[in-house]
């Protein structure tokens, strides 16, 4: 791990990314944007008054279409990069949130498990319930009071794993 060093006696228990369904939802706008120019000529044909004709075999239309697609593709690939580089790492001592906010803007924050006071799991919506996707809120007594992990697979299972590594959960009221 380059973002954080494991301490003596610390080991990684689990690494978690957002659920693939959440990623697919993030890609949906890009798919619509990519298909939009192809639907445009048909939509124009449906107009009662002939407006203009779009011929993608002409160099100008082809170039504009390609520039549009290149923009959409780079956006979609950036979304995939964010999805892949955003990561939560659970060790036997802490939870580490690695968040790629934008290019050259990366936040790495840790929450020590001994300071955990409360863990709640939230699952909202039909698809999220069916696919077991949810949010985990970890309440802490530390400087970072609340740690939220959104859109992860099997949140209840992750909560149980975190609880397993919280020292003295009874004393913390868990």
């Amino acid at each position: 791990m380059k973002e954080f060093e494991l301490e003596k006696g610390e080991h990684t228990v689990k690494s978690v990314r957002k659920h693939w369904f959440v990623f697919v939802l993030e890609l949906l706008p890009y798919a619509i944007l990519a298909a939009l120019p192809l639907a445009l000529p048909r939509a124009i044909e449906l107009a009662p008054v002939p407006l203009l004709t779009i011929d993608f075999s002409s160099p100008l239309a082809r170039t504009l279409l390609s520039v549009w697609w290149l923009g959409v593709w780079t956006g979609a690939f950036a979304a995939f990069t964010r999805y892949f580089l955003n990561l939560w790492v659970l060790t036997n001592m802490r939870v580490v949130d690695i968040h790629q906010k934008s290019f050259f803007h990366r936040d790495v924050s840790s929450l020590v498990l001994s300071r955990v006071q409360d863990i709640t799991v939230e699952t909202k919506g039909l698809m999220y319930s069916l696919l077991d996707i949810g949010t985990i809120n970890v309440q802490s007594a530390g400087a970072i009071e609340r740690f939220t992990i959104r859109g992860i697979p099997h949140p209840a299972m992750l909560r149980d794993i975190i609880l397993k590594y919280v020292p003295n959960p009874d004393a913390a009221g868990l």
Partner: protein, 88 residues
Amino acid sequence: MPLTAVRNPLDALADLGLTLPAGGLLTAVLIAVFAVWLIYTLVISYHWLRYSHSSLITSPAIFVHLVVSVAIMSYALTGSPVPTFIAP
């Protein structure tokens, strides 16, 4: 000593069978877009190589990005997603 002409870098495209569409503005737009894409590709590749924790998916991800981008650029220049230097 006689001066020798410097080769136009865009002539490399012609060697690959790619020609920029006629029209000064269109050519300028394409060059600008490709330059931005190149910077974007360098930046995103840096992030993948630096922060993906040596994941097995790093090289395939960058490869897919390059293949799709080149296909789109080839379509812009030739009308075919397969560049002429690949097509038989």
